[in-house]
């Protein structure tokens, strides 16, 4: 029943159903966990059992009941693409967009930031939405343009952004989602998509990306390509010096943004503020730490568990995890946290290890590689915004889902087991700030 790459981890009082390849997971109550272990549903639970299966299917954790519908929709799009292929003289990526789609807004910002490399494409990119069609790269004759515009409007029914790659003499490829469409653009530009960081946007990312940028620099670390957008000459100089980034190196989605709108040098990862540096030197150091974090993540060590969450560290002795959505607010209060001995780590991944025997999670010690650094003593997080109060197992399931994908089955089980003794504190980021600065040692 479970799709390949989906695992079940127990949390005590429930469990979590995890996709090891993409960020999708489901909390399991003890009864639902029993169903996945083969226990038949009781008569009074049949409706809930059916609802659970529907929900797990909807996010791709269990096999669909009717696979034919999706296949039919897919092949219909390919048939339409084949009709257009006869009239295209070169590869064309038709991208279905929508005005109210945040993923499309980030894609549009990336396209604008990469306009120079796109203008040199030996291909066309057609952006199709309800308002019309925009062509980037090589121009197209009117008949092909009309056919591909119709194709783009049809592709939007699969969700936006969805792209269809149409090329003479080859079968069409359908690509759905920000990641897949970005990868297609990187490949069309001649760069290596598998080696390029492509992070899905959040609504905050769209806010940060809304204003034009002066350039996108492509930095390389440990075989990974990373896009850094810069606003202003000073930001550009610091970024070039700190990262070795160069412009116009193929299409590179924007991962980091550097700007200095006022007193401070700001560094964003998507929509998250990673630092407000008072000096160029401080920005330089943070940029290098962030880049090194991406480099380490490209070839993680054995037994390392990378999480997509923030961490505050107290005087090198203890660490507390918090959700990434609090990052900007806590970074803006870095001075207040610093007065209480806490430091917000800017690294893009919180890499943990579980101590053999005790199972205590800890950060690596930067000064002594291989030795345990600060131990994780608590998790701060937010309760769901609506509905009944969560159970502890629900909260732990949501925290296990912070693990970066792809993840190994072993790392998921280790994380789930190591989280079980930890206290979980729920509240707002303001309450978290008070919790951290009002006392320590919890």
């Amino acid at each position: 029943m479970l799709l390949p790459g989906v695992v079940v981890a127990e949390l005590g009082g429930g469990g979590v159903l995890m996709d090891t390849r993409r960020p999708a997971a489901a909390y399991l109550s003890p009864t639902a966990l029993g169903w996945l272990h083969g226990r038949p549903p009781a008569a009074e639970h049949r409706a809930q059992h059916a609802h659970c299966l529907t929900q797990w299917r909807a996010i791709g954790l269990v096999a669909p009941a009717h696979g034919a519908a999706a296949t039919a929709a897919h092949s219909d799009l390919e048939v339409r693409a084949a009709d257009c292929a006869a009239s295209v003289p070169h590869p064309v990526l038709v991208v279905a967009m929508a005005a109210t789609c945040a993923f499309c807004a980030q894609l549009a910002a990336d396209l604008a930031a990469n306009s120079r490399s796109l203008s040199e494409l030996d291909a066309s990119v057609l952006l199709v939405d309800a308002d019309g069609t925009r062509t980037l790269g090589r121009p197209l004759a009117a008949p092909a343009h009309r056919c591909l515009t119709r194709l783009g409007r049809h592709a939007a029914h699969r969700g936006t952004p969805t792209a269809v790659l149409v090329a003479p003499g080859t079968p069409a490829r359908v690509l759905t989602g920000f990641d897949e469409v970005s990868h297609a653009l990187i490949t069309l530009s001649g760069a290596d998509a598998r080696a390029t960081i492509t992070e899905a946007p959040t609504s905050c990312s769209v806010n940060v990306a809304a204003q034009p940028v002066d350039a996108v620099l492509t930095a390389r670390v440990n075989g990974v390509r990373l896009g850094i957008a810069v606003r202003g000459q000073e930001s550009r100089q610091i970024t070039e010096t700190a990262t070795g980034g160069i412009p116009d190196d193929g299409y590179t989605p924007v991962t980091l943004t550097v700007e200095r709108p006022g007193t401070f040098h700001l560094l964003f990862r998507g929509g998250e503020l990673l630092t407000r540096a008072a000096t160029p030197t401080a920005l330089h150091q943070t940029l290098q730490a962030v880049l090194a974090g991406y480099g380490r993540h490209a070839s993680p060590g054995r037994d390392e568990i990378p999480l997509l969450c923030g961490v505050v560290e107290h005087e090198g002795r203890q660490a507390v995890l918090f959700p990434r959505t609090w990052m900007s607010d806590l970074v803006k209060r870095a001075r207040q946290l610093g007065n209480a001995g806490w430091r917000v780590r800017p690294e893009p991944f919180t890499t943990l290890r579980s101590a053999p025997g005790s199972g205590v999670l800890h950060l690596p010690d930067p000064a002594r590689p291989g030795r345990p650094g600060p131990a994780v003593t608590a998790v701060l997080t937010q309760a769901p915004r609506a509905g009944a109060p969560p159970t502890r197992a629900w909260l732990l399931a949501s925290v296990v889902n912070w693990i970066a994908r792809p993840a190994t089955t072993e790392a998921i089980h280790t994380l789930a087991a190591s989280l079980r003794p930890l206290p979980v504190h729920t509240g707002t980021w303001q309450e978290a700030l008070t919790h951290l600065t009002g006392r320590t040692g919890r």
Binding site: G12, G13, D179, A388, L422, Q430
Partner: protein, 112 residues
């Protein structure tokens, strides 16, 4: 004060009020101190969930209450979700669809 929850259950009348989460908005202007003058009451105490302890006295009614939510989904999609796909309140359905939830947390994208 810390509210201690055993077995994932809040003790009646002692829970801290939690505000709905809002997407972070980034102020680019200055080193803004924590806003304590907004008139919004932040209770300043987080609700603590400690490791569960065995509770043999837990009755069937309480177990049923704890298990009211059989499942809930966490997703970080990369495209807007089409009709019938899973969604949460914070995750966008495609234009023209709404996220209809049956448990207050997650649901499915449907026609309004």
């Amino acid at each position: 004060m810390i509210v201690v929850l055993v077995g994932g259950r809040r003790e009646r009348g002692t829970t801290a009020e939690s505000e709905p989460f809002e997407a972070t908005s980034v102020s680019l202007a200055s080193d803004t101190p924590l806003d304590t003058s907004s008139g919004v009451a932040h209770p300043a105490h987080m609700v603590t969930y400690l490791q569960e302890t065995p509770a043999p006295e837990l009755g069937a009614e309480m177990i049923a209450e704890i298990e009211e939510i059989f499942t809930d989904t966490f997703i970080a999609p990369v495209a807007c979700r089409v009709q019938g796909e899973g969604c949460t309140g914070a995750v966008g359905c495609c234009p023209g669809l709404v996220c209809v939830s049956t448990n207050g947390f997650s649901g499915f994208c449907q026609q309004p």
